[in-house]
Symmetry: C2
Subunit: 487 residues, 2 copies
C-alpha cells in the first residue's frame, strides 16, 4: 500500500488501487469474520440509492417484495441435481441450535430457489394464481476461498427475483424483460453500460435452462458479471411439485425464472469510474452530491459565512440536491477537499469571506475536462440554479466515457486462438469471435488466454458481420461469442 | 380453526383468531424450517412502510445506515458475561463451511453489539470521531422453543441502532431520544400508543446498564414489548477496547447505546386493531389504502365502467393515495369485498353502471361507527376530494380507539398481591402499583398472577399520586411499577 496520503496508481497495480479506494473512501472495511466485510455508511448509502431505483423498476413492472427464511433444509438444496453440484462446495452449515445438535443440518441460503418454489407450490392451485412475481432483498452466503471486497465475499447483499408462470414463453419474456431492466439500471444509474447476452452451457447458473447476463468492462479491461437473469424452465417446479391446473383443466408444472444483482455492483462502480485520486460516484447514486465547505478565516466574518452556507444548502436541498455541509472545525479546508475527493462526491462548493463580498461561490468538479481549471468562480445564483443540470451532465459524461472506453477496448475480427491470445496480451477487453458451440473450445481458449466466454451477445451487441468460422479453426461458427478475462 | 370462510371470534380464542388473521390476510405463512416464517407481500408491504417512516426519523436525527456481518465468532459473544448468559440458549451455530469444519464456530447474530463495537474500536481514536450514530436493517436469529408468527420467531427482521459517545450523559440522552422516536412512531403510524419506562433489573437486556421499553396493550389485555432502547454504559466498550482520547488528552472508554424494533410490530398492529372480520391496517401503513372494485354487470356498460375506474384511480394516485384496482374477472364483487376486508384495506370504492349514470360512487369503510350504513353513496368528485382526509381521520380514529382501550383497561390503586391477582382475574390490562424495588417481589407477583413487571413508568405515565406502599406489603414503595401478563 502507498503512503497514507496517496493511492497506488491504477497503472501500477490495479488490484491494490481497488482495495485502497474501497478502504480509504470508507465504502467498506474488513471484518474479523473470514470473507465477510462491513459496509460502512458511505458504501451503504450508495447501496440504498441503488436499491431504491431498482425497487421502483421492479414494482413498476408488477413485482412485489416478500421475505423467505435464511436457513434452508439441506435436503431442499439437494433436490435439484445441478443446483447442489454447483453450490455444495460453498455452503455454510448450521448443525447446532438452541443448545442441541439438529436432526437435519440447515444451510445458510446461497440463493433461495429451493425454499421459494416449495412455498409457491403451497400457494398455487390454478392458472389463476399465476404468474407469481416476487422479489426479496436479502443477505446470502457463499463460502468462497478467495475473497475481494464487494466483488467476492462470503456474505453479500442482493435482491433475488423469483417468478412462476403458466407458459415457457411468458417465463422467457420475464427473463429477458429483467435483463433489460438490469441493463437500463446499469446504464442510467451506475453509468456502467454493459453488454448483454446468453451464457454458454458451461457458464450458466446451476439449475438453469438458460442464463442471461450483463457484463461490464472495468478499467483494467477485465469483465465483471454484473447481473444475471435465468430461465429455469421446469427444473425446479418438478422437484418442488409446483403444479397448477391449466385453463383447459390439465395438471401442469409451472415455469420459473430467477434473477439477481448484488453489492458487487458497488465494486463495478469503483472500477468503472475511480481515478488515481480515489472514488468517483455517479451523481444519481451519491449519498452526497454536493459538499459545501465553509472557508472561515477569521472570527469577524465567520458567522456571516456560515449563515450564507446554510442558506445555499437549504436552497439546493429545495431544488432536490443532496447536500452536506462540512462544518468540522478541526480540519483545514484542504484536508476536507482531499477527503471528499477521495470519497468521490461529484461537486464541491466553497464559500468564504471574499465570495460573500463578490456574491460568488467556488465550484470544483470531481472530474474536469483536460486542461480545465481546478475551480470555477460562479455567481451564487447561477451556481444554485445550474447545479441540478450540472449533476445530470456529469452523470451523462461518466456514462459516455465508460461506453467509449468499452468500445475502444473491444476487438472484433479475430480468427484464431493464437490471435486471441495476442489480443489479450496487447490488453484487449472484450474480444468477439465465431464459435462452433463446443465447450472444448472454451477450455482451449481458457488455457491459451486465461479468458472465458462471457456471453453469446444479444442482437444489439452482435457484430455487423458475424464471423463465419469458429475461432478454434474447427469448422464453421454456429454463433458469435464474447471472450474476456473476468472477475 | 373455524371453517374457511369465517374466523374464530376473538372472544372465543384470541390466539387462534390471531393465527388465522395472519394466515388468511396473507401477512405470513409457516415455512418448512422450524420457527422461521415467510413474510408474504401484504405483510412485507406493511413492513416496508414501517421501515421508510422509521428510517426517515433516524436519518433526521443524524443516524446513518451500515451493514455488519451475519456471522459472529463465538468468542466475541462470550466476552460480555451477562450477554452470553442471556443469549447462549438461543444461538444457532455454524460449525462447517466450504466443506470443512471451522476452527472456531460462528454464531448467527442474535444481536450485533459485539461485532459492531469491535469495528468501532478500529475506527475511533479521538473524541473527534465521536459520536458514532449507526443503524442497520437486518435479519437476526434466536432459537426460541415456542414460536408465534411475527411475535416470536427464530429468524426475524429488525433494525438495530448502535451508538458510541464520549460521555454517559450524551449516551443516556440518545437512549431516551430513541425511546421517544419509537413512541411517536407507534402512535402516529401504527396507532398503537404504548406506555414507556425503565425495565427492572430482572427484565433488562443482557449486557445493558439500563433498558427502556415501549409496552403496548393488545386487545386480549396482554402487553407486548414493542421496542427497546438500552444504555449500555461501558460494559461493551471495555470488553472490545473501544477507547478514545478525550479533549483533555486522557484515554477513556466510550459509552454505548443500542436499540431495536422488529417485525414483531406487525403482530402488535394485528392485535391492536383486528376484528372478527380480519385485519385492519392503519392507512399510513397500508400498502393499498383504497381498493376499487368495478361492478361490471353487462357487456354493454363494461368498458365505460372500467374507463371510469381507471380515471378515478389515476386521480386518487395523483392525490397521493395508494390505490389498487381489483379487475379480476373470475371473482364476484362479493368475493373481492370479503378478501379486501379480511386484509384490512381501509377504504373500498365501488363503481358500477348505476354510479356512472348518477356520477356517484359507493364508499365502504373498513370500520364504521356503530349503526352506520355499510356503504355511503357519494358524488364522484366529493369522494376523490375527501378520500385523503378520510384516510387521515380513519388513522386518528384507530389511534384514539386504541388509546381509550388502553386507559379503560388500566387499573391503579391496587394495594396488595391478592388484589393484583383479582384485578388480572377480572381481566385487567396494565396494573400500576408501588414497589420496593426487590426482585423477590417480582417473583411473588409472577407466581400469584402470571404477570411480570413491564416498566417503571416514565414521568408522563406515572399515576397522579404514586402509591406509598409496596404491593408486597413489605415496606414503603421506592417507585411505581406497571404489571401485566405479557407476550
Amino acid at each position: 500500500m502507498a503512503d497514507d496520503k496517496s493511492l497506488t496508481p491504477r497503472s501500477e497495480d490495479f488490484a491494490s488501487w481497488y482495495n485502497e479506494v474501497v478502504l480509504k473512501a470508507e465504502l467498506a472495511d474488513y471484518s474479523p469474520v473470514r470473507g465477510s466485510m462491513v459496509i460502512r455508511p458511505w458504501g451503504y448509502g450508495i447501496w440504498e440509492n441503488m436499491q431504491q431505483a431498482l425497487d421502483r423498476m421492479f414494482k413498476e413492472t408488477g413485482h412485489e417484495n416478500a421475505y423467505f427464511p435464511l436457513l434452508i433444509p439441506m435436503s431442499f438444496i439437494q433436490k435439484e441435481k445441478d443446483h447442489i453440484e454447483g453450490f455444495a462446495p460453498e455452503l455454510a452449515v448450521v448443525t447446532e441450535a438452541g443448545g442441541k445438535v439438529l436432526e437435519e443440518p440447515l444451510v445458510i441460503r446461497p440463493t433461495s430457489e429451493t425454499i421459494i418454489y416449495h412455498m409457491y407450490a403451497k400457494w398455487v392451485q390454478s392458472y389463476r394464481d399465476l404468474p407469481i412475481l416476487m422479489n426479496q432483498w436479502a443477505n446470502v452466503m457463499r463460502w468462497e476461498l478467495r475473497t475481494r471486497l464487494f466483488l467476492r465475499t462470503a456474505e453479500f447483499l442482493w435482491q433475488e427475483g423469483h417468478t412462476a408462470h403458466a407458459t415457457a414463453d411468458e417465463a422467457e419474456a420475464e427473463t429477458l424483460g429483467i435483463l433489460q431492466i438490469y441493463r437500463t439500471f446499469m446504464e442510467d444509474w451506475i453509468c456502467m453500460p454493459p453488454i448483454t447476452g446468453l451464457k454458454t452451457e458451461s457458464e450458466k447458473f446451476a439449475g438453469a435452462v438458460r442464463s442471461y447476463a450483463c457484463e461490464a468492462l472495468m478499467q483494467d479491461n477485465k469483465a465483471l458479471q454484473a447481473g444475471t437473469s435465468h430461465f429455469l424452465g421446469q427444473n425446479f417446479s418438478k422437484q418442488f411439485d409446483l403444479k397448477f391446473q391449466s385453463e383447459e383443466g390439465r395438471e401442469e408444472y409451472a415455469y420459473n425464472t430467477s434473477w439477481g444483482v448484488s453489492t458487487r455492483l458497488i465494486g463495478g462502480m469503483v472500477m468503472t469510474h475511480g481515478d488515481d485520486d480515489g472514488l468517483i460516484v455517479p451523481p444519481r447514486l451519491a449519498p452526497t452530491q454536493v459538499v459545501i465547505v465553509p472557508i472561515t478565516r477569521g472570527d469577524d466574518t465567520r458567522s456571516a459565512v456560515l449563515e450564507k452556507v446554510d442558506e445555499v444548502a437549504g436552497r439546493l436541498r429545495a431544488a432536490g440536491v443532496r447536500v452536506k455541509v462540512d462544518g468540522r472545525d478541526h480540519l483545514s479546508p484542504g484536508a476536507k477537499f482531499y477527503e471528499w475527493e477521495r470519497k468521490g462526491v461529484p461537486y464541491r462548493l466553497e464559500i468564504g469571506p471574499k465570495d460573500l463580498e463578490k456574491g460568488s461561490v467556488a465550484l470544483a468538479r470531481r472530474v474536469r475536462p483536460e486542461g480545465a481549471k481546478r475551480k470555477e468562480f460562479v455567481p451564487e445564483e447561477e451556481a444554485i440554479e445550474t447545479l441540478p443540470a450540472r449533476l445530470e451532465a456529469f452523470q451523462d459524461e461518466l456514462r459516455e466515457t465508460a461506453r467509449a472506453r468499452r468500445e475502444e477496448n473491444t476487438v472484433r475480427g479475430v480468427g484464431s486462438i493464437g490471435e486471441l491470445a495476442e489480443a489479450f496480451e496487447a490488453g484487449a477487453g472484450f474480444v468477439y469471435t465465431g464459435w462452433n458451440g463446443d465447450p472444448a473450445v472454451e477450455e482451449q481458449v481458457k488455457e491459451a488466454t486465461k479468458a472465458t466466454s462471457r456471453v453469446i451477445p444479444s442482437e444489439e451487441f452482435r457484430s455487423p458481420r458475424v464471423p463465419e468460422r469458429c475461432v478454434s479453426g474447427d469448422g464453421p461458427a454456429a454463433m458469435e461469442v464474447v471472450w474476456a478475462r473476468a472477475y
